[in-house]
Symmetry: C3
Subunit: 677 residues, 3 copies
């Protein structure tokens, strides 16, 4: 449990009373109670207010707010306010301002704006955290710490340049090792002195938002920046822990945010929390995947849904309203996949500046007679009723999909073979196939122990890190099913090619050699012709984007190309290896192929869904103390009948026993409890 003081699904969100006059505060409390809100995130962006100069701290407003909330039964998720520095600090200590990828020194403005290697930031941010921790260490209302906000954004200033050189010295030891890792004999890049190294941005090696001349340099800078920001987090974390060692500490992550290696970060968070802002056209399975990824960051530990909007956003091009029921539906989606909190940005809508058109529990109308408030209040009541029954329950999956930020950076930075390759999209294609089959999936990092899984899928495993090929071999050797795809096994952690033939270190496991990689134009397609169709599968499928031209070296062809000069060459292979099987999908297939393939793989392993797959119906399950709760989520605007397996279940919300089938209302949710894990 995140904090036993509040043994239920936490319900609340960001709250900024400092933006309002005192007469509004009582009204806030009244409405929070109406809505069943029991946690408020405070102090996210109050640094300027809290600290008017180097040595003055004005925290009385915060004392009063925490007290007032606590006295009314509302706990505090206490932020450290360091997500945006004060203007006076920027003016007096310009080192806190970033230099951007275009090489421009920024001036005061925005948020998430501090240079992570700024001595000023590294002095004042942890000092603020220490002040707060010391001040509130004994306050019974404080549930959890929230460090800064949505860490992110790179800097290219001279302090960062110096930090980068030190980081490189730590990593490589000698310039010889660095020159080798970066292959600097290419294009006359040999470095004779650490001081010759400059950050890779649009003034040096990069252009167009992430194209680069030197993959090794750019990859290391991403690592360095992720580490630099993590260092800032840790400095605050350490100060807080000095005073409140038993209170959990988190910072809100952003799903598949590209700039930070969240698996590395997760080790330093006591609990994962994240902000879920799907766009109108985000596939439901994509949101599900990201929840699973957030859960995977700490090996399945329940996480916090720290932010979502009750209705609409402001920063998307077209900010549609969440349709009636959708806020509740998506809240349960988070819970179904491991969230133990449902929290909003924000509780009261701001009156000015750029987020004033972002939805809130209390809208500009200011009263409870709004659709949005009614839906929030209804959910609040439901969550109170559920109490602690779901808390700490774990998702149990036999299928894992590998996700790795450094691999993603490597692919994003690659010059060739195609601009069409999007790692996250490719991972999602595999996830989506399993999602449609109602198969539970864990999203795992490369450090994950694989022994608990039957099937491991690693789409586009371009970068194979030290020892990972061996881990995969051991997994298959002992009976596991492993699958990877085109453009895998290409490079090591330094982005240097594994010579001798693709897929490099994975070649023996997969039993193939990929001689060439053809890149197709956007409108071009090839075909996967099945040697033998899958059960109720097609004879042939479309494929495209990249086509590896492979030769069998022990593997067997499952499908071959149907067109072009490589017609008849293997396109999908399986390789018996030890007690298991290793699959290779040499191209990017149409979704139907992946559904049929995943169906086949799961069938071989006897992995079955509890609910028969039905279009628009999402299923996810959590288990605790022998009880499993199945979440049935209907994303359609019409009711759907869910066909269950042979067992009887308790409908937790209606408190009826159901068996055989159950109707899930339009955009509705059914929670089925079963003592059969």
């Amino acid at each position: 449990m995140i904090n036993e003081k509040l043994p239920k699904i936490w319900y609340g969100g960001d709250y900024n009373p400092e933006q309002w006059d005192a007469d509004v505060w009582a009204e806030d409390i009244r409405m929070f109670k109406l809505a069943g809100i029991d946690v408020a995130t405070l102090n996210v962006f109050s640094w300027a207010l809290n600290q008017p100069d180097e040595n003055t701290y004005n925290l009385e407003w915060l004392d009063e707010t925490i007290d007032r909330l606590y006295q009314n039964g509302i706990y505090t998720c206490l932020a450290t306010s360091t997500g945006a520095h004060p203007a006076w600090m920027a003016k007096r200590y310009p080192d806190i301002l970033r230099v951007d990828a275009q090489g421009r020194k920024r001036r005061f403005g925005g948020r998430h704006n501090s240079c992570p290697n700024s001595p000023t930031y590294r002095l004042y941010a942890p000092r603020m955290a220490a002040k707060l921790a010391e001040r509130y260490k004994d306050h019974p209302g404080v549930l959890i710490w929230h460090v800064s906000n949505e860490f992110g954004g790179y800097c290219y200033c001279d302090n960062c340049a110096a930090g980068f050189r030190t980081w490189l010295q730590d990593r490589y030891g000698t310039l010889d090792a660095l020159n080798k890792a970066w292959n600097t004999r290419f294009w006359s890049h040999h470095f004779y002195d650490w001081e010759e190294i400059v950050p890779p941005n649009e003034l040096s090696e990069e252009w167009g938002g992430g194209r680069t001349n030197f993959q090794g340099i750019s990859l290391d800078y991403r690592r360095f920046m992720s580490d630099s920001l993590l260092e800032c987090y840790k400095l605050e974390y350490d100060e807080i822990k000095k005073h409140t060692p038993h209170l959990p500490v988190t910072t809100n992550l952003m799903g598949t945010y590209p700039e930070l290696d969240y698996f590395k970060w997760a080790k330093h968070l006591d609990v994962i929390s994240w902000d879920n802002y799907p766009s109108l056209d985000t596939p439901v399975s994509y949101t599900a995947m990201v929840h699973d990824l957030m859960r995977g960051l700490k090996q399945g530990q329940p996480f916090m849904l720290m932010e979502q909007t009750p209705s609409q956003q402001n920063w998307q091009p077209y900010n549609s309203l969440k349709r009636p029921g959708v806020m509740r539906l998506w809240s349960y989606q988070a819970v179904a996949r491991g969230a133990d909190t449902v929290m909003f940005f924000q509780l009261r809508r701001s009156v000015g500046a750029c987020e004033k058109f972002h939805g809130a529990v209390i809208e500009h109308a200011g009263h409870e007679h709004t659709r949005v408030f009614r839906e929030c209040a209804a959910l609040g009541k439901e969550l109170q009723k559920l109490s602690d029954r779901i808390l700490d329950a774990r998702v149990q999956a036999k299928v894992a999909i590998v996700f790795d930020w450094e691999n993603r950076w490597g692919i994003d930075l690659s010059s060739g073979p195609t601009v069409a390759l999007d790692y996250v999209k490719e991972v999602h294609k595999y996830y989506d196939a399993l999602f449609k089959l109602n198969i539970q999936v864990d999203m795992v990092g490369v450090e994950q122990d694989l022994s608990g899984y039957d099937i491991v899928i690693a789409p586009v495993l371009y970068m194979v890190k030290d020892g990972y090929a061996q881990k995969l071999e051991a997994f298959v050797q002992t009976g596991g099913t492993f699958l990877t795809t085109f453009f895998s096994g290409i490079v090591n952690e330094a982005d240097l090619v594994t010579l001798g033939g693709y897929p490099g270190e994975l070649r023996e496991l997969l039993g193939i050699w990929a001689e060439e990689i053809d890149a197709l134009l956007p409108e071009q397609r090839n075909q996967l012709v099945m040697k033998q169709p899958f059960k109720s599968g097609q004879q042939a499928y479309e494929c495209g984007m990249l086509c590896d031209l492979i030769h069998l070296e022990g593997a067997e062809a499952v499908a071959e190309y149907g067109m072009d000069f490589y017609k008849g060459m293997p396109a999908v292979t399986k390789h018996a290896y030890g007690k298991g099987t290793a699959w290779y999908v040499a191209t990017s297939p149409e979704p139907a192929f992946l559904t049929d393939l995943m169906n086949e793989l799961c069938a071989e392993k006897g992995i079955q869904p509890v609910v028969k797959p039905t279009d628009g119906l999402e299923v996810s399950s959590r288990t605790k103390s022998g009880e499993t709760i199945h979440f049935l989520l209907n994303h359609r605007a019409e009711p759907v009948t869910a066909e269950l397996d042979g067992n009887a279940y308790m409908d937790m919300l209606s408190e009826q026993t159901v068996a055989g089938s159950v109707e899930v209302p339009a955009r509705g949710v059914v929670l089925l409890a079963s003592s059969q894990a």
Copy 2:
């Protein structure tokens, strides 16, 4: 009359003899006479020529030119030459160079390139104006002053930053007031010292050409920049007036140019002048609207068409020729809507640099035997014939459309609810509906007295300024018809939301509450289902972009939504208020709806066109001393028959009496004079 020395529609344009050798000048005069040209705008871009250093002024060429023209019956519109500073000045006084929105200090180049807060510019530009005014104050050839040229372009340099702080001190008095107006408790923006404030550009609060983190800051910077440039104008104006208090002074505006608040500027211009450069795909009604807007800047006072091209432009992507007759047609369109001059850029086409492919009365061929010259000369003759008959005649409208630059800035800067909202386009939709019905419209600012109008339309009145709601209430109270739309009544002048429910200050007048605002994807549509169709109107219409979800609070539903979860909610309402009616259109409808709606509103008020609406036929009227002249403008490539009301008219060009109907030739013009106002 702008200047009684030339009591006819002025005909001429920009003339740059300084770019040519003396032998060309005589030829110029010969051809001007052939073309009936009687006014030449001189000295627009001659600063470098006029002033080779700090203290030397070489104006002999100008003396000679003004004399030569005057001796040949051609008057001078005398520019002050400060629209582009000399290279020597940029080199010696770099403060005159701007810093752009990307934070880059510019170097010498281009035009309209001076920092409006540069001490150098503010020293030398008014000094030049003073020199010229003193020198030519008694010259009989000078008709009018033309300050600088097409003012515009923002700067973000340190002088502007300092100026901004002073401007803010004037506006807000205290930092407390400023912090409140900008809502700086959001994102840690509290300012403790004026010096902490920096201009909002891409290094601080803005990005992507106008997106911003702080609407209040960005809005104020637009106000400040508009004021700064206006200050530059006024410095010259004041110097000129010292010497020639009786000569009118203007500067050429640019229609709906977004950067300057022309209603504020207009107070300091003796006469409005503007440059009309429609693109090939500019709707004819858009040009009409802009003429009406320019006329509205000074409450209907006739204006100057300062520039148009006789044939083609150079700076558009595809610079098509004006088809035969179109130059004349569009010239009369300007006159029909209030222009008392027809002037070109330019009289002789330049030989080098970027405008050499811009059309001119005298083309590169250099003689009169061109289509363009023949058309210019024919029009010149016609205007001589019209003499002073049209001069000072006023357009009389019973319908006003409100246009406000600060409201526009607020909408443009808004983060959410949709990027699709374009204020000017939305205003034009309403204008266009009335244009098609041949209903005369005044484009008015928010300071306009409304008592003379029957109908006032304020599309997307997002920002309601102090006292404006009361003015609108009084207008309706006494019998007026008022109409506004979705996303109105949202904020005050500081862009702070009016709390308590949209449309805020307009809520009582409109008798509705807008609970939510849905933003539709570009391809999404909803429906307006009429409770009762308009006369010969449809049962339902398409609508889209934004849909307010409104509740009736006294108003009556005229149409309701036909789809989605808000099907059946009111979409168009009318509210009986005092003796009048207040309409609300909660979404952006298809044009057919607006035409039918405007027809209904005008019919209610008994507003009728003189000429039956006919596709492609534009009608506008001007009245003086009891005589009204109706301009019938055929924008089609075929003749059109105009059906008149029952009266008889005098065709001013053919000098025939007409009644019943009259044929307007393809791309032709008919002027019907009537003594019935």
Copy 3:
């Protein structure tokens, strides 16, 4: 012959052994021999390796490499390594770093990164060339010098600004002359001191990557930058020639690369070499045209194909594989059009950084059992068999197409009349028509003697340089057929309009006057209606983009416009002038018109192809010592039958005699030798 030491078509490419450990080198040699490789380009990007500081030169690795290759029968194309400066140099001498078009001082990174006016670069680059020349002057393995690499890239730093002013003083002598040439009375640009002049970039006169306020300034800066980079080349050239006066010197050009005036550069190259990287969608005739252009740079002298990829590229969006046979086909295409070498980038694929996914003779697999290697080896054997039979053979053409970089700059910089005009594309339209007819073409510069041609075509001859109109008149006078198009004869070398009527200096020759130029929208079209159709031609054709409105002044109308207000005006004219004819095509016609027109022109001159035009079959011929070799290149994926003229030929590869017709295999090549020139 480029160098008589290797009297055959050179075969090899870029080789970077310094990127590899010593154990790879022996394998390289073994595989080079398998592939028939006899030349390796060394030292292209080794400056940092070669020179660790100001005074140390480490060239032992190069000594050994040249020796090892030579001992194994492989010659060296020796690069000077100055295409990318070392990091230490950038750090110690920042003047070597460029300032880009956005005005940003760059930092170390990339390649082709040195300021051409940097004192540091101009000191160390020629010194390196001198060191190398002195060291290897007597080495028998060195065949040719390769200065730097792919010269290009502009700089806008203060050293360049100073250089520009000096260059301008040389060109204009006085500021008066400069002010006149630049027409600086426009927009207040008069310069009183040379120091007032700044480079035209996005901080001064330009924007959007090549739009400018002052065409004259921007045009001169292009000339200056081309000259500055040429100066760098010449500094190295001169040092080399001091030591090895008899060895040829080249640098690799890039086809239609826009930044450098290659006709001016060509005078300083002993032999032209270039890098051919067609995209997947590059028309075959475009590549042919560029080969012809490269051959034309030195009046038909055979050139080097310095680089091409054996399989795929890395820097295109979608890097498709060259289909089987295509590498050979395109290699012969180069030879067919004048290449005496076939060389690759690169011989072994790099292991890291941005070109690791660029194809190579030796792929990452590292062995010879790849499709790509097999194709390379097969071609190597064929080239050995051909020996010196093709070397030095000349292409003989009776048709010339004029191509001029300064004219191109003028057109690109023009503001109006249309953004759709692309000079190179327009030239290619004419080339393509002749290509389809199997008519041999020379691409020539404006200094080319025209007396050897029957037909000269100068599409869009916007800028007519001093004396060129007279040269064209003389050509037609004596019987030649000349053709030019719309937007020709407009300006002189300073981009100042030739007054009096377009097409200016060409007006008398063409017998027309172009009164106006209409620009059409992208979707707009007009028609060319033939007065009398061409033989088997159409009655009418489509045309668009620009339409000159012309009047006949001695010429005869061949076609007239079919639409719009200029319907019936001449659109294509021919003018009998002396013994010849001058044609004017007043608009941009559809391809069918150009094919029919070119057919007509060639028929009039009795110019006939050897092989009947067949879709997909390219034909080009080279002649030496009375023997002509016809290259038949089938670009289709099916075999094609080529119908020959009445003569018998020797098929050089199969060594069979053929007559009447010959089948060319899918993507195959047939070389027919004939002793009839």
